[in-house]
């Protein structure tokens, strides 16, 4: 059966999208796996100027998940364009994630990466820089999305936060010109050391990812699809097997992100892809027919 789908004029050969962050710019990742198994690859977030990132510890191990505090480390726009952008994989959809503090920064980065991207993802929801996520202030977030919209004709993905109301965020993104929403970034969390009595992370909070919080994201995908039936949604959080992607599609996601599972072992992506193909063949329908089926009474 067919796994491909078209989103805002962009052809994805399958619904697997590598999430922004844990796989960098792919320079190490694609030594271990072919991009032929992947629908889309999202770069880590690019900012106008280089960012060193947070001091260690940057990771806290969590049962069935991971708490991270990387802090958007990246080489900045100029170095990205010279050293990384020309080498992004061409056999899958290239999604470049853009970040910054102000709307003007986002706009400049969007302009800079435009020619290297098939789609651009606006990171409105990093939990590890500054005090709050950008999208916690809807007015600022709307200004960012609007500025990016003016800077490119490429499809725009708004990356939302699981810490805020998904429908309100999605409405803001659509009103400001986003074509797709990604729900979402890692959810804010903290762990404390029982020996020292202090938080593990210097910033106290980090972003929780992994299977532990997949049900949280599934609900938010469902809620967004319920409110915006025609809005393409990327569901991101906790996918580690083909059935997880199926579950995201049932809830309403057109595409499913993979982050930590690919990071643990890049070959997991191939296994997920092959098992997804087998699942669809066994069920006897195309992937796109399954998107949002929970909103249509399920498999009847």
């Amino acid at each position: 059966m067919d796994l491909s789908l078209r989103i805002k004029g962009i052809e994805f050969k399958n619904p697997i999208v590598i999430a922004s962050g844990p796989l960098g710019f792919g320079e190490e990742f694609f030594k271990y796996i072919s991009s032929s198994f992947i629908g889309g690859f999202t770069t880590k977030t690019i900012t106008l100027n280089p960012v060193i990132g947070n001091k260690p510890p940057r990771l806290v191990y969590v049962e069935d998940g991971l708490l991270n505090s990387i802090g958007l480390q990246n080489p900045g726009l100029d170095a990205f364009i010279i050293n990384y952008a020309p080498h992004l994989p061409e056999s899958c959809v290239r999604i470049i994630s853009v970040g910054g503090e102000k709307a003007e920064d986002f706009a400049r980065v969007t302009e800079g990466v435009d020619s290297f991207a098939d789609m651009i993802e606006i990171n409105l929801s990093c939990p590890n820089v500054g005090g709050q996520t950008i999208v916690s202030d809807l007015k600022s977030a709307k200004a960012v999305v609007s500025a990016c919209r003016k800077s490119t004709k490429k499809p725009l993905i708004a990356k939302l936060s699981p810490d805020e109301d998904p429908v309100i965020q999605a409405r803001m993104a659509v009103d400001a010109g986003a074509d797709v929403v990604n729900i979402g970034n890692s959810i804010q969390g903290a762990r404390f050391n029982v020996d020292s009595g202090r938080p593990f992370l210097k910033n106290v909070k980090g972003g929780l990812s992994g299977p532990a919080f997949m049900p949280v994201i599934l609900l938010k995908v469902y809620q967004i699809k319920d409110a915006f039936p025609d809005l393409p949604v990327i569901g991101l959080g906790g996918v580690r097997k083909a059935e997880d992607i199926v579950e995201y599609a049932i809830a309403g996601a057109s595409l499913a992100g993979i982050g930590s599972s690919a990071m643990i072992n890049p070959d997991n992506v191939r296994i997920i892809y092959e098992n997804l193909q087998k699942f669809m063949d066994k069920r006897g329908f195309n992937f796109r027919e399954m998107i949002g089926i929970a909103h249509r009474g399920g498999f009847v």
Partner: protein
């Protein structure tokens, strides 16, 4: 698979069948069929006769999964080997003995001083002839500070690493660094340390760094 505990139960020697290659300083990520979700990095302690061994501190999450598991899934080797040093002094604290031991098995060295907070650790491990081993409150640094040797290789807890840099400021001190990591391949940027050349990653650029190039104030609290 063979799991051997120190008499006190605080350290584990984990032995697994392995036909591949690995060099001192390199590490593998380990997980069992039930977890942990993020495989944990362990330096190679020994590789001989088709068996590879790792030192594991008891009481951690990995031990919970290890007990009762049928298989351990290994990925690696990752990281760069320890460079060959001229007649080095080898120092370790706790499980930091693993890469130091593997180096001592395969390279020439002058002296080795091993520390642990549990005396039964020394019955669990293999110690080369003429080793010095110390337990609390004496530390390997208490002995090593009198050594005239110029090249020093050290692996141990953060406090030992910090103290050693100040103590051996006029020597060629090489640190085998450890940081929490998730991918072990230089992708996730979790195991960051600061160096004279900017942020580096323990998994991809290390784990061995010259102490003189590492900014330990940035790297540790």
């Amino acid at each position: 698979m063979k799991i051997t505990y120190s008499k006190s139960g605080s350290y584990i020697l984990l032995e697994l069948p392995y036909k591949g290659k690995a060099l001192p300083g390199q590490f593998f990520t380990l997980a069992t069929e039930t977890g942990p979700y993020i495989p944990r990095p362990f330096s190679v302690y020994s590789l001989e006769d088709g068996k590879i061994s790792f030192l594991v501190k008891a009481g951690g999450e990995f031990e919970k999964f290890l007990n009762g598991c049928a298989t351990v899934e290994m990925n690696g080797p990752f990281g760069n080997p320890i460079p060959e040093l001229d007649s080095p002094l080898l120092l370790s604290g706790g499980c930091g003995y693993a890469p130091v031991h593997f180096y001592a098995q395969t390279h020439e060295f002058s002296e080795i001083i091993v520390g642990a907070n549990d005396p039964t650790f020394f019955d669990l491990i293999d110690l080369p002839d003429h080793s010095v081993y110390v337990t609390d409150p004496t530390t390997p640094l208490d002995i090593a500070k009198f050594s005239p040797l110029k090249n020093i290789l050290l692996c141990g807890p953060a406090s030992m690493i910090k103290d050693s840099k100040a103590l051996f400021a006029d020597k060629n001190l090489y640190l085998i660094m450890e940081e929490r990591m998730a991918c072990a391949r230089g992708m996730c940027e979790g195991c960051a340390i600061m160096t004279d050349d900017g942020v580096k990653f323990v998994c991809k650029d290390g784990p061995v760094f010259r102490a003189s190039e590492v900014d330990l104030e940035w790297t540790y609290r």
